[in-house]
């Protein structure tokens, strides 16, 4: 038992949609400052789990706790306080289409900080530069390519320097150079700010490069079938679903 509570703690969570249960009895915890991966095949419920974690959907049962505070049965005001400390990147960028990139990034700051408009503009440029979109402040989401939108959404997710970042497939559709930059950015954020980072991804090299720990979800099992450090899960497991997943690009080492 650690002395400080884990950043995220899921306790016997049941999640899914109206009449489909996707994940049953899901328990895991993420320690503060960890890069935590959620992996599994398409349709096993990774994005759904993220929706539950950020409170967009209520679980059938079970609780989610952040820093020891109950998130599932929490007053709206308490939930808002927690939400301020999150950053979320959705699988389909979900940028606000009626606003340009600078407004997209500035809106969370307007809501939750009291920095002046001038400072805000500086901050927006800084964040956009971090994801390699310097100079695109006045572009609307529809004027950007898919990979650029993904990066803009990432910039929005880290706009408030959140304590926990949820990233749903952050590097899908990015060219290899940009993808590596983004991975470096993720590690740098973790190092500098001690941010807890939860990532959904299928790209093995990124899993091995970034993950401290991961959980492997399975659709049939409706839950976790493996948990631990990536190498440990990949090498010391003879479940065919897992070996098959890691089979193709096991790094040479």
């Amino acid at each position: 038992m650690e002395s400080t509570p884990p950043a995220i703690e899921s306790d016997r969570l049941h999640c899914g949609y109206e009449n489909v249960v996707l994940l049953k009895d899901l328990s895991f915890s993420v320690t503060s400052g960890e890069v935590f991966f959620i992996i599994g095949q398409n349709g096993c419920g990774k994005s759904t789990l993220l929706r539950h974690l950020v409170g967009l959907q209520e679980p059938f049962s079970g609780t989610i706790r952040y820093f020891g505070a109950n998130f599932t049965d929490c007053e709206p005001s308490g939930r808002l306080e927690l939400l301020k400390r999150f950053g979320v990147l959705f699988q389909n960028d979900a940028l606000w289409s009626s606003m340009d990139l600078s407004q997209n990034l500035a809106l969370p700051m307007e809501e939750h900080t009291n920095i002046t408009p001038g400072m805000r503009a500086k901050m927006v440029s800084f964040k956009l530069e971090q994801v390699g979109l310097k100079g695109y402040e006045t572009y609307f989401p529809r004027e950007l390519s898919g990979g650029m939108r993904k990066r803009a959404a990432l910039a929005r997710a880290i706009a408030l320097d959140p304590e926990i970042i949820f990233l749903d497939e952050p590097t899908v559709g990015l060219d290899p150079v940009t993808a590596r930059r983004i991975n470096e950015l993720i590690l740098r954020i973790r190092e500098q700010l001690g941010t807890t980072i939860v990532i959904v991804s299928h790209i093995l090299s990124h899993i091995f490069a970034l993950a401290d720990r991961l959980i492997f979800l399975d659709r049939k099992q409706q839950g976790v079938i493996a948990e631990g450090a990536p190498r440990q899960v990949a090498n010391s497991n003879d479940d065919p679903r897992i070996t098959e997943f890691f089979h193709q690009q096991l790094p040479s080492k």
Partner: protein, 405 residues
């Protein structure tokens, strides 16, 4: 060494390519030109034994032969498929053979495919046996409720949801009063331009024409009684108390209510509302309040404008149909109309603004996350909006009379 091997490989590939091309290139070229060469389906029947000869080039994008016309009326108990002269085929041929097999099974005909290449036979068996009854049921299910958003079984739940929505909006408005700096004036202004200046032409035109029509009909009737001058009463009271507010509301329900619903529904489809919620911005504060307030501010102004144009329309027609001068019209109307008449129109317009705004935003939030859902949301926002307006008007007018307004 490596280079020689490489060259060897290249020549091998080249010969392979030409070999592969040669037998195909010729018939292909012919197929393009003559319809008959394309594929061959021929049937020989001898005392109940049929042999089906299949040959030529089979492509899915070209019309498949009609199976029944090939078979004709022959009675057969055994059918052998031969593919000796087949040149090229894609999945259309296994599909065709599979259909044929189904057809034969239904009629207890032996379907013999021993002569068919193994890969073709294997592909044939990969097509599922269609269960036609299941397909039909799902089609029926989708047309059970042709009314978007007015399914009666869910009416209780819907009323609850609507009340919750209105309540939340009210709470959100109250919290806005404590932190007015947070209000999104920019969005509100954009919407005000949309439902004000951009709607001027259509609201003006409709009011003018309806004012004129009223005057025209009134004049015809009143002239028979020799009471021409009462056209002024008819037009001015009807326009101020009823028509002005109604026309504005109906036009804005169609323009603005539908736009609200479509915008919000589209944001829902794109996950933009989810993104708002996770940033901790209540979507009601962000989306509903600016729109509702824009409508509340613009509707009374638009109603006054519609009143004016309705009167002008009435005046124009009156001048040309009955024996009234513009001055008489003006004096009579001025004496007749009180602040209460204009006020009633304004009060109605505020109520209509609330109804249109709530209907539009609510339908938007309620929409399904599909492109069809966006369209349905817009449609049902207009239907709901106009329905509510007319019903509310039917209730408000007698109440105003009773209260002496």
């Amino acid at each position: 060494m490596a280079e020689i091997e490489h060259r060897q490989l290249l020549t091998d590939l080249n010969t392979l390519a030409t070999e592969a091309k040669e037998p195909k290139a010729l018939p292909n070229a012919q197929v393009m030109q003559s319809e008959g060469q394309r594929r061959q389906v021929k049937i020989d029947v001898q005392s109940g034994h049929a042999t089906l000869w299949i040959g030529g080039v089979w492509r899915l994008v070209e019309p498949l032969p009609d199976w029944s016309s090939v078979v004709g009326e022959e009675s057969v108990d055994r059918l052998v498929v031969r593919t000796d002269r087949l040149e090229h085929w894609d999945s259309s041929l296994p599909l065709f053979l599979n259909e044929m097999e189904d057809w034969c099974r239904e009629r207890d005909i032996d379907f013999v495919t021993d002569e068919v290449p193994a890969e073709l036979r294997q592909l044939m068996s990969r097509f599922p046996k269609l269960n036609r009854s299941i397909q039909k049921r799902s089609e029926e299910a989708s047309v059970v409720f042709p009314w978007p958003g007015l399914g009666f079984p869910t009416i209780g739940a819907e009323i609850k949801a609507i009340l919750a929505f209105i309540g939340n909006t009210f709470l959100s408005f109250v919290s806005l009063l404590t932190r007015p700096g947070r209000f999104r004036w920019r969005d509100c202004l954009i919407e005000m331009v949309q439902c004000g200046p951009h709607a001027l032409f259509i609201v003006g035109l409709l009011s003018f024409l309806i004012g004129g029509t009223l005057s025209f009909q009134g004049a015809i009737q009143l002239e028979q009684l020799g009471a021409d001058i009462y056209v002024v009463d008819l037009v001015s009271l009807a326009v101020m108390r009823e028509i002005g507010a109604l026309i504005t509301a109906v036009v804005l329900a169609g323009r603005t209510g539908a736009a609200f619903a479509a915008q919000i529904a589209n944001m829902k489809v794109g996950g933009e509302i989810d993104a708002l919620e996770t940033v901790g911005i209540p979507s009601i504060d962000f989306l509903v309040l600016p729109r509702l307030i824009a409508l509340l501010l613009m509707m009374p102004l638009m109603t006054l404008y519609a009143d004016c144009l309705g009167m002008i329309g009435g005046l124009m027609v009156a001048l040309s149909t009955v024996d009234v001068s513009a001055l008489e019209f003006w004096v009579k109307a001025k004496a007749l109309l009180g602040l209460n008449d204009v006020g009633l129109g304004i009060i109605k317009s505020i109520i209509f603004a609330l109804l249109i705004g709530f209907a539009g935003c609510y339908r938007g939030f309620q929409s399904e996350r599909t492109s069809a859902g966006v369209g349905a949301a817009a449609t049902s926002a207009v239907v709901t909006g106009i329905l509510l307006i007319i019903v509310a008007n039917a209730i408000l007018s007698p109440i105003a009379k009773i209260l002496g307004i």
